[in-house]
């Protein structure tokens, strides 16, 4: 066993070193500097909770970003998961098209979100975009809605770039459904349940854990949405589509205010933990099997 000890250390070391370099170190810097006044070319100084106080009381853009992020988390945790689960239940009735549709539906999830952002920027372009060309064609009148730049439609347009694309949820729920025993369906059938009733009252409750996981994934993905926003609206017009990652990015690279940016990073981590905890509680996921 003593000989093994050497190997245990050697085998774990690369992973732990890398992890420390990319996660532990940065988390230390993040929390440490969130209490400081630190910007480019200036001496770093401790200011206590001043950054946090400033963000909530004086920084309207941050508050707008926080609100949008929370709204997006709620939309994603509900509608997005509902769409994905519904599609999974429909596709689980193995028809000839089921696996093809599953594959097609997942494609928007495997491409780079930067590319997805670019795709929507083109599709919703006011002059030559697909959406407006299509509306012009069927109504016969020129339609030039500037989806991403009009304050009335920007939030909706950005939301539409991720809300309906629930391919991941569909795949996860379908994988879980394939592990439901045939006996369960059989028993429900003998008891006289229609296939719709079986889905709603028998199968769906069995999916509780995977739906809970999907809600967690969908909700926390909203804490990372920087790429699509950067490619489409940059948080604008005004702060109509601002979210926390976008404002954090701007604070770092446009305003070079590192202390303030890291205070936002800390809040982002805390929000993530709150979201995770409350969803797990709601789905009773803390009880380990």
């Amino acid at each position: 066993m003593t000989k093994n000890k050497k190997w245990i250390v050697l085998f774990l070391l690369p992973g732990i070193l890398l992890f420390s370099f990319v996660f532990l170190g940065p988390i230390g810097v993040l929390f440490g500097t969130s209490f400081t006044n630190w910007s480019i070319g200036k001496e770093i100084s401790f200011v206590g909770l001043k950054n946090f106080k400033y963000l909530f009381t004086e920084d309207q853009t941050f508050v707008d970003g926080l609100k949008n992020t929370i709204v997006w988390i709620l939309l994603q945790a509900t509608f997005h998961v509902l769409i994905g689960t519904t599609v999974a239940i429909v596709l689980a009735k193995k028809k000839w098209y089921s696996s093809a549709i599953r594959t097609i539906y997942f494609i928007p999830n495997v491409i780079s979100s930067a590319a997805l952002g670019m795709l929507f920027l083109c599709v919703m372009n006011p002059q030559y975009g697909l959406v407006n060309s299509f509306i012009t064609k069927i109504t016969g009148e020129g339609f030039t809605q500037n989806w991403f730049m009009d304050p009335k439609s920007a939030f909706f347009a950005v939301t539409m770039t991720w809300l309906p694309y629930a391919g991941l949820v569909t795949i996860l729920v379908m994988a879980e459904m394939s592990s439901v025993s045939e006996d369960v369906y059989e028993a429900a059938k003998i008891d006289g349940a229609s296939s719709f009733q079986t889905d709603i009252y028998v199968v769906l409750p069995l999916m509780k854990n995977i739906i809970g996981t999907s809600v967690v994934l969908a909700a926390t993905s909203m804490l990372q949405k920087l790429d699509i926003i950067m490619m489409t609206t940059n948080g604008g017009p005004g702060s109509r589509t601002m979210n926390m990652p976008m404002y954090l990015y701007k604070t770092v690279f446009t305003n070079n205010n590192y202390g303030l940016a890291n205070a936002q990073g800390v809040l982002l981590v805390i929000l993530g933990l709150i979201v995770l905890k409350s969803i797990r509680k709601m789905f009773h996921m803390d009880a380990k099997e």
Binding site: I8, F23, I27, V29, L91, I104, A114, L119, C122, F253
Partner: protein
């Protein structure tokens, strides 16, 4: 009556999701072969012919070849390194007993809860301090670690299913720890390598925010950043924008379609621990 309504609704739902998933891609693909005047007239139909000039323009405007090379290099290195590091750690955690095992597992799972965006500035500072800012090595190391929690978990659950008797026999025959790992365990873990590898490759290939913040010059950047160039600098050249999008998207789609089974099982396994 109820059945008919349900059938209609089902068909409608499936039609909508297929349309929203395919039509934007198809439209961008077709448009990338159109001339600029065809694009501006907002025609919905097929291009009048295959004009490759948009692709030529796209490759001329941005150094797409360099981006491509960087993306391939970084994605492959980031995947290989990630698989080596994770398989070693996972093996030790599954097969050996040691005091800090719980701590190691907790540590790696922590990586899943931290939103990457929160670490933008700290990573930027640390990479600057270690002279890894604006280097491909820096990005490779960051990506290797980024996928660590998922790969570690996939590897761990797979190694658990391998019967210990094979390793035991090897030890009795006098094989050492390293040799047993390399010659007995690794070949058996191949399916897990495929699963975790595809997921990790896609992560490296698609990643945008860290690629943007941790590199500074064109020569070191990856493909998703190319699109950002087009958006900010050449937004008036629509045809080239379409072509660039196609060029970035195609490898991910092909990887997914060819290795669908691995992608799906990887996602299913990798997300459950969430």
């Amino acid at each position: 009556m109820f059945r008919i309504i349900r059938k209609v609704l089902t068909a409608l739902l499936l039609t909508v999701i297929v349309v929203i998933s395919i039509v934007p891609f198809a439209w961008v693909l077709f448009s990338s072969f159109k001339t600029n005047s065809e694009i501006l007239s907002g025609t919905l139909g097929f291009p009048s012919g295959f004009h490759f000039s948009n692709y030529v323009t796209a490759f001329g405007l941005a150094p797409l070849v360099t981006f491509y090379k960087n993306s391939i290099l970084i994605a492959i290195a980031g995947t290989v390194l990630n698989l080596i590091v994770c398989s070693m750690a996972a093996y030790v955690v599954v097969r050996c007993t040691f005091k800090l095992k719980g701590v190691v597992m907790l540590l790696f799972s922590m990586g899943l809860i931290i939103p990457g965006a929160a670490l933008l500035q700290p990573l930027y500072t640390i990479l600057n301090a270690t002279h890894l800012y604006n280097t491909r090595t820096g990005l490779i190391l960051v990506y290797t670690a980024l996928g660590l929690p998922t790969t570690f978990y996939v590897m761990m659950s797979y190694i658990k299913t391998i019967p210990y008797t094979l390793e035991e026999a090897a030890y009795i025959d006098g094989s050492g720890f390293l040799r047993t790992f390399v010659q007995i365990v690794l070949p058996l873990t191949r399916p897990a390598f495929a699963t975790a590898g595809v997921i990790q490759f896609l992560l490296c290939w698609n990643e945008f925010q860290l690629a943007l913040t941790l590199t500074g010059e064109t020569g070191k950047r990856t493909l998703p950043i190319a699109l950002y160039y087009f958006k900010s600098a050449f937004a008036s050249d629509y045809g080239a924008m379409f072509a660039a999008t196609v060029v970035v998207v195609i490898p991910s789609i092909i990887t997914f379609i060819l290795l669908q089974k691995q992608v799906i099982s990887g996602l299913a396994a990798g997300s459950v621990k969430g």
